[in-house]
């Protein structure tokens, strides 16, 4: 059995159902991310795992044990909160050792653990300060230190980086990843930031409206989203969605792309039987910005690579690349172009479309067709 097993967990408050049957299994040492928009139920699910709230139905297993009826302190978990939740009247040292004290760990042992934790997180000099004397990043580290000191089987993180400014967030993200590598424990991490989800997780559960929409590795979710929502949620800048009519040409299928000046038909390679039901109708084509670049001569003409020239509506240089907005089928499409090749706003430019990873969605059900 895996390290954490969530079986058909449901949670209702009165008549409102917040969690509608969650099933997740992860192995020991894995980093699970629960990601989704506000209100999707991810924090509620975390509270269920932690035991901070009752489960309406279903079961949660941590390791071999069914923990439904256990109080949080008996579940062998540790949690890091969005607001750090450090005890304001205690020093950093006392904050870390509070849990150990309750478990009646001998004083000498407590000191040893505190020293070890401080060393791992590089906060030896902070041990005698109070939380009010620490910066946001330092407080976050103390919160993590408190969790590590408990040496639990399961770590829970509830949006721990949301209160930090952008730069600090990136730094702490790396620290958390390093920590996971070092400590090797199972982690469940809740966030609404898909960048954190992609960079930190071994497995991601994308949630919406109380259900797990898709569960898989970051790359699986990125490359093979199961519906429009997952496709739009992951990836920054987000995937382009182009409504295209499916054209039939010599028994092959193609997509009509209207750039405002010309109409192109991009043939679709392989698995075209899936599109048969949509011949002549409109589907939604998903293509990521990084798959639309400047024209690379030796690739033009290769299967899956198509070129079209059109006007640049807006140019957004970010330094590392330049995002160019063009219009196809009356929609604004974002293209990620190398700054050296990007032309200016208003100019015409040849764009190359790499259709190899394109995904296709039914416009009504929003499910993936191909």
């Amino acid at each position: 059995m895996g390290a954490l097993s969530i079986r058909n967990v449901r949670k209702s408050y009165g008549t409102t159902e917040i969690l509608k049957g969650i099933n997740i299994e992860i192995e020991e040492g894995e980093f699970l991310i629960l990601v989704g928009p506000s209100g999707c139920g991810k924090s509620t699910l975390l509270a269920m795992i932690a035991g901070l709230d009752n489960i309406t139905s279903g079961e949660v297993y941590i390791g071999e044990r069914k923990v439904n009826d256990l109080s949080p302190k008996d579940r062998d978990i540790a949690m890091v909160f969005q607001s750090y939740a450090l005890y304001p009247n205690m020093t950093v040292r006392q904050n870390i050792s509070f849990g150990l004290e309750i478990r009646k760990v001998p004083k000498a042992e407590q000191q040893k653990i505190v020293a070890q934790v401080a060393q791992i997180l590089q906060m030896e000099q902070l041990l005698d300060r109070k939380p009010s004397q620490l910066s946001g990043g330092q407080r976050q580290r103390v919160a993590m230190g408190r969790a590590i000191a408990r040496n639990p089987t399961l770590f829970l993180f509830d949006e721990p980086l949301s209160n930090l400014d952008a730069k600090l967030r990136v730094e702490m993200r790396t620290e958390i990843k390093l920590l996971h590598k070092r400590v090797g424990k199972t982690i469940v991490y809740v966030t609404h930031d898909q960048v954190e989800a992609m960079t930190l997780g071994d497995k991601i559960a994308v949630m919406k409206d109380g259900e797990v929409v898709q569960f898989g590795t970051p790359q699986q979710i990125y490359d093979n989203p199961v519906n429009l929502f997952v496709a739009s949620f992951m990836g920054s800048p987000s995937m382009n969605f182009i409504p295209c009519r499916v054209a039939v040409l010599d028994g092959k299928f193609g997509l009509k792309m209207d750039t405002g000046g010309q109409t192109h038909v991009f043939p679709v390679e392989g698995a075209s039987s899936a599109l048969a039901a949509y011949a002549g109708r409109e589907i939604i084509v998903g293509i990521r910005p990084e798959k639309i670049t400047h024209k690379v001569d030796f690739l033009a003409g290769a299967p899956n690579f198509y070129v079209a020239e059109t006007t640049i509506e807006i140019s957004e240089p970010t330094g590392a690349d330049t995002l160019l907005v063009i219009t196809i089928n009356d929609k604004n499409i974002v293209c990620r172009v190398h700054p050296d090749y990007a032309k200016s706003q208003g100019e015409r430019m040849a764009f190359m479309f790499d259709m190899s990873k394109t995904v296709y969605f039914d416009p009504v059900t929003e499910l993936r067709i191909l």
Binding site: R75, D76, I113, P152
Partner: protein, 311 residues
């Protein structure tokens, strides 16, 4: 890698997978803690109100009896001239007291808001009367308003030989002495409330008004004072509460007199219940006081709830 503390797992594997006794106590403990207050509130507030209500429907005089008497006590109450005097006094005193405190409190708060040096000291001088018992205040003002030896004598000694200030012994005017003393005692508190409210006004709104060209008095009148509406409401509620309950001050200052000319419902209730052995009527007057308070408080709370739900 980390020296591992005794794991929580060891304990629970041995225990059965049900809620332990200590866990069960834990879930009930908050409610147990609240229980004494719950019982006390139920019995001594709501229960007693019901009891007094019942008494008001009986013929009790010196001792409670539970012979149902319908509304006769209330009839007697409203046929009683003294009760009407008390009600009239409540309206007079209440109105003047509230208006006076609000006006003085707001004016002082505005003055103090002008970055005054020694503001802390001045504020504590204005506020200290609240630390006094109404009995002490009543006693002090009773002396000051003493016809013959107090302010009357003082002004006469200045040369105004015909000045009279015998309100304390004047049936028509005795209630106004209560107003004077009451306003003296409570206006400082209202000032503190308004000052806190003024300090809470968003600076950027004022700056926007200045950019629009408004002068200081206009800013105060059109922008700041209207934004103090919640403070007005709170102050009004607190003051009306003090006014309705005013017993200590009246007893100490005038004793309800001369005669019963400065009686209030509170002193009426006390007199009839405890010195004149008319418990039934006393209970009726107490219920009337409750209804008067409810008439003021309920609309206020209702509007508070509505605005907090909207806001």
């Amino acid at each position: 890698m980390l020296a591992s503390p005794p794991s929580a797992v060891d304990d629970t594997v041995r225990k059965p997978c049900r809620l332990s006794l200590s866990d069960r106590i834990e879930t009930w403990l908050p409610k147990i803690i609240l229980a004494p207050t719950f019982v006390v509130t139920l019995l001594f507030i709501y229960g007693f109100i019901l009891w007094t209500g019942c008494l008001s429907f009986t013929t009790s005089r010196m001792l409670p009896n539970y012979e149902f008497a319908g509304l006769s006590q209330y009839h007697a109450l409203f046929a009683n001239e003294r009760w009407w005097v008390a009600l009239k006094n409540l309206a007079l005193f209440g109105g003047l007291f509230i208006a006076g405190c609000l006006a003085i409190g707001l004016s002082l708060a505005i003055l103090l808001d002008q970055k005054i040096r020694g503001e802390g000291f001045i504020r504590s001088v204005y506020l200290y009367p609240m630390a006094l018992s109404f009995v002490v205040t009543g006693t002090a003002w009773k002396w000051m308003l003493n016809p013959g030896l107090g302010i009357e004598k003082l002004v006469r000694d200045f040369g105004f030989h015909n000045f009279t200030f015998d309100w304390l012994t004047n049936s028509e005017l005795s209630i106004y002495t209560v107003v004077i003393a009451g306003v003296w005692q409570s206006s400082g508190f209202i000032m503190a409330m308004f000052l806190a409210g003024l300090r809470g006004v968003d600076d950027s709104i004022i700056k926007a008004a200045q950019v629009d060209g408004a002068s200081l008095p206009v800013i105060y009148w059109r922008i700041i004072i209207p934004s103090l509406r919640p403070v007005f409401f709170s102050a009004f509620m607190i003051l009306s509460h003090i006014a309705i309950k005013s017993f200590d001050l009246v007893m100490a200052l005038t004793g309800g007199g001369p005669g019963f000319s400065s009686d209030t419902p509170a002193t009426f209730m006390y007199t009839f219940s405890f010195t004149r052995n008319q418990i039934g009527m006393g209970a009726a007057s107490a219920m009337m006081m409750l209804m008067i308070v409810a008439a003021v408080v309920v609309p206020f709370l209702y509007s508070e709830l509505r605005s907090s739900r909207r806001g």
